[in-house]
């Protein structure tokens, strides 16, 4: 019960951080996708159920702070969770730094593609002119954001590794 509550709070906090904090930052940091890092982390550590629950709660939070039609963010996050589970189970099965970073990079690219599809669908229904083809500016912004995403993943892995080492040193007699 306590774990479920923690997951709920963490997923909501990530959603709020993404919608309110990250999107207000200057480029390339505004392109960061914290929910995707969380989903990849949950899929690789806890597997599917926790990842789906967190994606749903995070999606609901993002939807409540978004200008997109209700349910869009949740649907995209859940679809990306399905993709992450499949990628982790069949292609990026290694728990190494390279494997985790690669999985994050592919999921980030898929997320970018998902929002291109959302924008395209929206433009069809609202009549807003929108070209899904990348131009020099959008390609540069995407690459910078991808770099920032991978750097964040490596930073979080290093922090996690540091904490684990510190804890295991302190309790080495229990091992």
């Amino acid at each position: 019960m306590a774990r479920a509550f923690l997951l709920f709070i963490a997923a909501m906090a990530v959603g709020i951080l993404q919608a309110a904090f990250v999107r207000a930052l200057p480029l390339p940091f505004s392109g960061l996708q914290l929910p995707l890092i969380m989903i990849v982390g949950l899929v690789t550590v806890f597997r599917t159920r926790e990842a789906f629950v967190a994606a749903f709660i995070c999606g609901l939070t993002l939807d409540s702070l978004s200008s997109l039609p209700t349910g869009t963010e949740t649907a995209v996050l859940l679809a990306l969770t399905v993709c992450t589970v499949m990628l982790f189970g069949r292609i990026f099965t290694n728990h190494s730094l390279l494997g985790t970073a690669s999985l994050n990079a592919v999921v980030f690219a898929l997320g970018h593609f998902a929002f291109v599809v959302v924008d395209l669908t929206r433009s069809v229904f609202t009549g807003i002119p929108y070209s899904p083809l990348p131009n020099a500016d959008s390609s540069r912004a995407f690459l910078y954001a991808l770099g920032a995403q991978i750097a964040t993943v490596i930073f979080l892995l290093a922090v996690n590794d540091g904490i684990r080492k510190s804890v295991s040193k302190r309790f080495f007699l229990l091992r």
């Binding site: 709020i16 200057p26 159920r49 789906f52 939070t61 409540s64 978004s66 200008s67 209700t70 969770t81």
Partner: protein
Amino acid sequence: MSTRNSNRPRNAVIALVAVLLLAMGALKPLSAPLKHLATTVAAPVYATGANLSRAVKRLFDNSEKDKTALTQEIDALRMENAKLRELAVENGALKTAIGYRDKSGIKPLTARVVSETNQDVFHGLVIDRGTDDGVKADQPVIVGDGIVIGKIFEAKAGTSSVLLLSDSRSRLAVTVQSADGTAGVLEGDRGLSMSINLIPQTVTLTPGDTVVTSGIEPGIRRGLAVGIIDKVVQHTQDPFQSATVLPFDSASHPLFAQVLTNDVTTP
């Protein structure tokens, strides 16, 4: 592992059903309190992000660092100047008008900004006021003491999205002060800039002129400040000229916004 693998299709189906229920509004008992909590917490988080963004911008732009105080002062003076000009024109018109409507009853609805959106098809803000507070689409949104930043694009139960003037879809009827009240339409461009097009070549525009709302658009009164003319583009063969408009400094990353829910048009 095999149990986990067998759970995958079931989890995906549950996820699909949850999204469908959400889209149909069946999950309102769950999403409504979550939305309330999220918008309450998001405002201070957004303020931190916006302040950090401004700080980073200043860090990489030394000239801006030096000019910030002066820019704010100039903005305030331009605002005051714009208001005084409009008051002078309005005063003359009101002396002869019959059935003058007192505008003192207008109470702007103050809202906190909870998020920003910089997608290719939408450049805007999300505020924590919605249909419950009387917010409707196309109502003007201002910051400070009357700087227009956009219009309400869509109002939901507890939140509304604001389409910024720099969005490609944004259109606003404006007039340029000190250019014989030349009227035009302010258009946004992919969230990057704003411009007034189709201004006759005979009109003299000067960089630094203040742009205000013209009041011919339903629901938006005359004289609300929009920005200042930055560049004027003229081609000898073209019968029209265009002008790039710079927004006021206080219009970027606002923490609070005001929705003019019962604004009236001054003829």
